[in-house]
């Protein structure tokens, strides 16, 4: 237990904001209909991007158990002496996940840049 004055309460906040002249950000701040459209477009773009990435994941990696059930012959296939299942699930799946993630990060950042351009504030 500490003695003396109680330490100041630390308020954790985002980075300091500049006071720019009023731009289209004002529309979002004031929750106008136009601001709503701007925000909605960003949300939709990002969600669509996420959905596309997940769809690719489900169709490729997610379909493997079903594929092995529907086509039992797959478990006898070997490549370079390694069973196909092991090659796919023990190794190749990981670079594939990284590739999906890398593509996502690039596009998500581009969406955010477009949004910033739209609001007339180009950063970085």
């Amino acid at each position: 237990m500490t003695e003396g004055p109680r330490p100041e309460r630390v308020r954790v906040t985002g980075p300091p904001r500049r006071h720019a002249p009023r731009t289209r950000t004002g529309d979002i701040d004031d929750e106008t209909r136009l601001g709503s459209v701007y925000l909605g477009s960003l949300l939709r773009e990002q969600l669509r991007l996420a959905a596309r990435t997940i769809l690719v994941l489900v169709v490729t990696v997610g379909s493997l158990p079903l594929a092995f059930r529907v086509v039992p012959g797959l478990s006898d296939v070997t490549l370079l002496g390694i069973p196909l299942a092991w090659l796919l699930l023990g190794g190749l799946v990981y670079p594939f996940l990284v590739l999906l993630g890398w593509r996502y990060v690039r596009r998500a950042e581009r969406n955010e840049r477009d949004f910033a351009d739209l609001l007339g504030e180009i950063e970085r």
Binding site: M1, P7, E31, Y94, L97, V98, G101, Y104, E121
Partner: protein, 508 residues
């Protein structure tokens, strides 16, 4: 004392010392409450990703996966895949918005988003429950490792891990733990990779012999046996691990240490790379175990495969040294994951219990750091006591169930909270209760009952495939019904979650 005992002992002592030293070194940078909780949000992606990897690769990853592959075969490869793909889903759906929400724990997020103390309380209870459940297999794994390494009774390992974690967490908080965990990722990778290279050379030298275990066709099929029930089990495991990662309390807390949303994404991408490199290794141990260590699977001691294999394959001092290295890596795994869980649970307890309620007892509120230290003691001692009292159900399986509960509670809360404006406090609580009770029933059943067959049992054994959709459905339907309770600040909060920090916007 045999050489076996000496190398094991040296390995454990070295890892413990290194952990304490790095923790103490990190202490020099740890000054404020903000350092304690979130390392003052200034951890760069490369360091942060190593720390996340170090914290995330637990006893289940280091020991459990190889053991499961040895016993059950290729369908167990879904565990490491799910644990990695979970980060991809975290990346695309949660990472940046969660960081931008500005909250520290899951209960903070829920309260900020929904403006309700009731949601906060529900989340706090869930965080503690999942955290403690996840802590058990870490302690059990530590007991196994210490017994295999130096022949000590199984209670010694958990007690050492508990003591070291407590020392580190209470002294330096998040800042010093970040350095410790980053170090432990690289230690774990080395401890698994180096012996494996030697073992593969030995295997090739032996003329690449095949499995000496009884022929088993289903071993190389990536699907649980038993027809459609097997298909269900496999998909349910996939759902639990893919969606459960984002709901694990110790994973989520790490995201608040990123400087901004963009860094949170980049950190997650590096984590994907680090996990991918690591998870290629344990299944190879499992496969080599089929050749050299079949009797471990037969005697039900498959969890110690990684620890025993070097000794079985390489005779003499070489094998002992490799075994010592693997032991060091395993011990690092328990220390780092336990520390992460202790930080996460202590964060919640200190905010919701020791930081508030003890006002009544002590006459005044505890300072932030003192409350955190007290909470850390509780966060470590309770699961330690439970771990010493109840028997282990298998390291990877216990962790798998924690994922199922996380996927059925926090995953819907996070996804709907971040992407859907219509979520209400009543909806969130109902959904989390439905998913939590459903998956919790499965966990209880597995802990108490164990094995049996038939559809009802299969559904309970791996509940995620029905409990996750159930939680989503309840959350959406109840939110629709109580639509008048949608918080007034929802739109402003969405601005905060989804817009880049550099834009000058009012974020509420």
């Amino acid at each position: 004392m045999s050489t076996e005992t000496v190398t094991g002992l040296v390995a454990v002592v070295l890892v413990t010392l290194a952990t304490l030293l790095i923790g103490t070194w990190g202490l020099r940078f740890s000054r404020t409450t903000s350092d304690f909780f979130v390392a003052s949000r200034s951890v760069r992606p490369a360091l942060n990703a190593s720390a996340i990897g170090g914290e995330y690769l637990s006893a289940a990853s280091f020991l459990g996966v190889a053991g499961l592959v040895l016993t059950f075969g290729a369908d167990m490869l879904w565990y490491p895949i799910g644990w990695t793909a979970g980060y991809l889903l975290l990346l695309v759906l949660v990472a940046a918005p969660l960081r931008r929400s500005g909250a520290y724990t899951l209960p903070d997020f829920a309260e900020a988003r929904l403006g309700s103390r009731r949601v906060r309380a529900t989340c706090s209870v869930m965080v503690v429950a999942i955290g403690w459940h996840y802590q058990l297999p870490q302690f059990h794994g530590a007991g196994l490792t210490i017994r295999a390494a130096i022949g000590a009774p199984t209670w010694v390992g958990p007690v050492i891990v508990g003591a070291v974690v407590l020392a580190n967490v209470t002294s330096g908080g998040m800042r010093s733990i970040t350095f410790v965990q980053a170090f432990q990722y690289w230690l774990k990778l080395t401890a698994l990779l180096l012996p494996l290279v030697v073992l593969i050379i030995v295997w090739v030298g032996d003329g690449t012999p095949g499995s000496r275990m009884p022929a088993d066709d289903s071993w190389s099929v990536p699907l649980a046996s038993g027809g459609s029930e097997g298909l269900y089990l496999t998909y349910s495991l996939i759902i639990a691990t893919f969606l459960g990662t984002m709901g694990l309390p110790h994973v989520v807390v790490r995201f608040y240490t990123n400087p901004d949303g963009r860094a949170a994404r980049r950190t997650t991408l590096v984590v994907l790379v680090l996990l991918g490199i690591f998870y290629v290794l344990p299944p190879v141990y499992g496969a080599l175990g089929r050749v050299y260590a079949g009797e471990l699977a037969a005697s039900g001691r498959s969890d110690v495969l990684v620890l025993e294999l070097p000794r079985l394959m390489v005779p003499g001092i070489g094998g002992e040294l490799l075994a010592g290295l693997v032991t060091a890596g395993a011990f690092a795994a328990f220390l780092s994951t336990s520390s992460g869980l202790a930080i996460a649970v202590a964060g919640v307890i200190s905010q919701d219990v020791t930081g508030r309620s003890l006002t009544v007892l002590g006459g005044r509120r505890l300072s932030g750091v003192a409350a955190f230290r007290l909470a850390a003691v509780v966060a470590v001692l309770v699961p330690l006591t439970i771990a010493l009292a109840v028997p282990s159900i298998g390291v990877a399986r216990a962790v798998g169930l924690a994922f199922a509960v996380a996927a059925s509670t926090f995953c819907p809360l996070l996804l709907l909270g971040i992407w859907w404006r219509g979520l209400t406090d009543v909806g969130a609580v109902s959904g989390m209760l439905a998913g939590g009770l459903g998956s919790g029933a499965g966990v209880m059943w597995t802990l108490l009952e164990g094995s049996a067959t038939g559809w009802p049992v299969v559904l309970l054994e791996q509940p995620a495939a029905w409990s996750v959709p159930l939680a989503f459905a309840v959350m959406i339907v109840v939110s629709k019904v109580t639509a008048s309770r949608v918080p007034a600040h929802t739109r402003r909060f969405m601005v905060r979650l989804h817009t880049p920090e550099a834009l000058d916007l009012d974020r509420g």
